[in-house]
């Protein structure tokens, strides 16, 4: 699953994430991060057999966890299926199908919005 972790200022110096990885069977990927002494947030992808337990642990430790409900959508009226977005997607969430239709994949998307900016017809929207 993907989630935003919000750190309050007092949480910034604590090694909660290190403990999470050490003590639970999880695979953990940081997709985006913006943390400074005044707190911050981090977009993570967490998987593995103990992912749920792990999330419980960091929530208890004081990190605010909000699962990402992001929808990346292409407007089929606007999209001309050119494919300009395909190669700029950092996580290969945009693919060209057998029939040459360009398809965006919601579960892979990390919300960087590079495609929404680069689309010549402004056909891709990311809603969080």
């Amino acid at each position: 699953m993907k989630a935003w972790l919000k750190f309050s200022p007092e949480m910034v110096n604590k090694a909660v994430i290190t403990d999470l990885i050490k003590n639970y069977d999880v695979s953990f990927n940081i997709l985006r991060a913006d943390i400074n002494p005044k707190g911050g947030k981090m977009l993570i992808e967490i998987n593995g057999s103990e992912a749920e337990k792990g999330i419980e642990y960091i929530e208890k430790a004081g990190i605010d966890v909000s699962p990402v409900k992001r929808v990346v959508k292409k407007d089929t009226d606007l999209c001309i299926d050119c494919g300009a977005c395909v190669s700029i997607c950092p996580v290969k969430a945009i693919v060209v199908e057998e029939d040459w239709t360009v398809d965006v994949n919601d579960t892979e998307c990390v919300g960087c919005k590079l495609c929404t900016y680069s689309c010549p017809t402004k056909a891709i929207k990311v809603v969080e």
Partner: protein, 514 residues
Amino acid sequence: MKTIEEINQRIKDGDAVVVTAAEMTQIVNENGVDKAANDIDVVTTGTFGAMCSSGAFLNFGHTDPPIKMTKTYLNGVEAYSGIAAVDSYIGATQPSRIPEIGIDYGGAHVIEDLIRGKDIELIASSYGTDCYPLTELKTHINIENLNEAIMVNPRNCYQNYAAAINTTDETIYTYMGTLLPNMGNVSFSSAGALSPLLNDPYFQTIGMGTKIFMCGAEGYVIGEGTQHNTEVQRKNGVPVNGAGTLMLKGDMKQMDPEYVRGATMPKYGSTLYVGLGIPIPILNNDIAQRTAISDEDIVCQIMDYGTPKRSKPVVIESNYKQLRSGSVEIDGVEIETSPLSSYKKALEIALELKSWINKGDFLLTNPVKLLKSEGSSPRPLSIRRQTVLVNEIKSKPLITANPTDDIRDVAKRMVQNSINHLPVVDADQKLLGIVTSWDIANAVAKGKNMLKDVMTKKVVIAREDEPVDVIARRIDKHEISGLPIISKNNRVMGMITAEDISRLMCARNLKDGV
């Protein structure tokens, strides 16, 4: 051997055999060229790509009292009106005059909106004459109430086009789309084996008067496009780079918005996606053989768009089979590829044109003059005022600092030499960072002592052989005031600053009497 008249008779009789260029490749592979040339009457092609050199002549009709329009704006986009009283030409790449909108709504969008039947605001002004007394007007027009709306595109349908890559370390925004740094992606444009002019590479059938599919309507080739180039190197009979072009004309009143689209290349400009399909009559074996070309046989050069020069270096040669596979390998690294033109739409167009011919709705025409197939190549434009290169600018003697220098010594050095920028180098004169007088002030304010603690490590640089105009654009883009000049072997040679460039401009203007 067949003639166009014979093929047209077969179309009228419902007996013509029409296939798309994609199907033809397979047919020739399976049945051989002799049989294919005999069996097949017409091969349809298609492309749906960004074609910046497009636009439309509009005739608004006369008002009462009449006006001789000298400036016209359509939804805020200027159209050229230096043609009689109520004609204008709206070009696809003209941006909106409203700064907040700019390239997000340009001439291409006006053209799409007209074809969609939307109302467009027309603002016109004039100087007033005895016969045209009105000097201003504001009204709405649409495709219905325009007398004529004729799309005339000076350069469309490029025969092949180089793919783009970016070897610099920053993202660049080009007419080939967004190019990621360090060869992060490749962007290509041509529809390859489906593309019209790659299926008739020596222009044996296409010329002035060839009837075509243009944005969902019947259109015509009216001659070679601008920059038509017949002298590009060929492999497998087709040019390896941008070569032949077409000038086209079509009636916008008949066009279908499915096959035309206004678009914007980010930070570049607006452009028009034009849907084109050209029927190729299979008059003989050679023409049949040419239409059988496959994506694999069409070479495409991948060029470095990180070089803002007319001739861009070729990084590697690829072909459309590779490009369309989703990635190409360069120096052992898989690099993802993106088409800029819609292959799906291109196929749709080839199929649509095929169905028009099959239904007997679309007959082929005999061109009155074939396109030039030799002796045509565009010349570059030379500028009277020679481009000044970085190493031709007189700059101050080079003063550098070392990372372990004390801030106070550095401050002293800057004051003594009255400079604001100081490159920080190692023992070999290789660049490590840069400090400005602002960095020094910042260091003093924060009580830091050593230069390496305050220097900027990610430095925007200038190369000795770069034109000063390119550096001016870089200074503006990065909001900086000076760049270290770096030699080919990566040594710091000096500094070029915004002041140096303004001094150069003043000297130039003085010389030119401005």
